[in-house]
Symmetry: C2
Subunit: 199 residues, 2 copies
Amino acid sequence: MSKGEETRQAILARAFELATVIGIAGVTIGRLAEETGLSKSGLFAHFGSKEALDVAIVEEASRQFVQSVMVPALREPRGEPRVRALFENWLAWGARPGGCFFVGASAELDDRPGPPRVALVRASHDWIDELAKAARIAVREGHFAASLDAEQFAFELYGIMLSCHQFSRFLREPDALTRTRTAFDRLVAAARPASARSR
Amino acid sequence: MSKGEETRQAILARAFELATVIGIAGVTIGRLAEETGLSKSGLFAHFGSKEALDVAIVEEASRQFVQSVMVPALREPRGEPRVRALFENWLAWGARPGGCFFVGASAELDDRPGPPRVALVRASHDWIDELAKAARIAVREGHFAASLDAEQFAFELYGIMLSCHQFSRFLREPDALTRTRTAFDRLVAAARPASARSR
DNA sequence: TGACAAATAGAACGATCGTTCTATTCTAGG
DNA sequence: CCTAGAATAGAACGATCGTTCTATTTGTCA
């Protein structure tokens, strides 16, 4: 990795952390330069525009998300265990300072068209598709009922995650995590075949 | 209402619309002055600081929310019909340009302490309490099971709303509304007494 | 090691931010 | 109708935004 790429990567690592906490718009060229010990223009040269920096931040976030949430889950057994791993890994991801990058960024970009939004939509879609896919596999494994609508399952699971984020980060509700796990267990239980619906 | 209050109210009405679409931070003194036909300083004098304006925007949003979502629902019969009315009124509220003010504002303020955040947390809490209260009444009316955890119900309902917002506004998923209603129906069905759990 | 390119710094730009000042216009009550 | 005070305008402030320019330093490779 050349010197330039190395610096760029270091910038993005810090930019992603910052964006998670104070939002993408809060990651200012000046502030980021200060935090990385570079000059404004020196940092700027790595990206060419604020918009390109925003896109790079989203891509860095996606990279880290895949690395720390998706990949480890794919090592779990197919079916319900993998669904549960995706869920648990997401909880851990959302427990970092600033919460889940994507939740914050979505709200920030949802009425701001342009390349950063496109990149973020793609990442969100990938995540939801992954959830639905995991549910479909669980159906195939016999863990979930054949009649399950996997997309609907992903929709509702996503809602539980959003509610978790809202209750813990914004409302600072102490039992947010308990409520979240309860909701998840209810969702999974309802997804199981009638014969296995114990709880 | 004096001239000053009249102007202030007109400013806030526009400020709230704007904040819903471009976020609270996007509602700049200059921009708001331009849109209302006032000078920057003339407008500024009504609030004294940007932070005070932010608080006023949140309060205006709360006022309108109560007026157009809560109040009409309280005219519906107690129990499940009222729960459904709260839900449907919220859907209509979230269908305005910019979506639901509170969803956007929460993400914006969740890591920015201060009076605006406090005002927003209070409003969100009121809303969630209202949902839980409606669920408790439904239990008392016999529409929902006596074993229902009303707070958990509110938590999950809130999640469905958040997911709806995300899928329709951000992901532009065409069938977001259908998924939302399906999720709601599932939630309500699970809340009913075992004897009435038809669907 | 020398040379060329890549990487970074520094200064300056116009624009816009929130805010403060003073001056002017308007409105309402005696 | 007159006047005191409320309401608004206008100009200016320092700060910071993204961006552009020209130097200067640094790394890389023949």
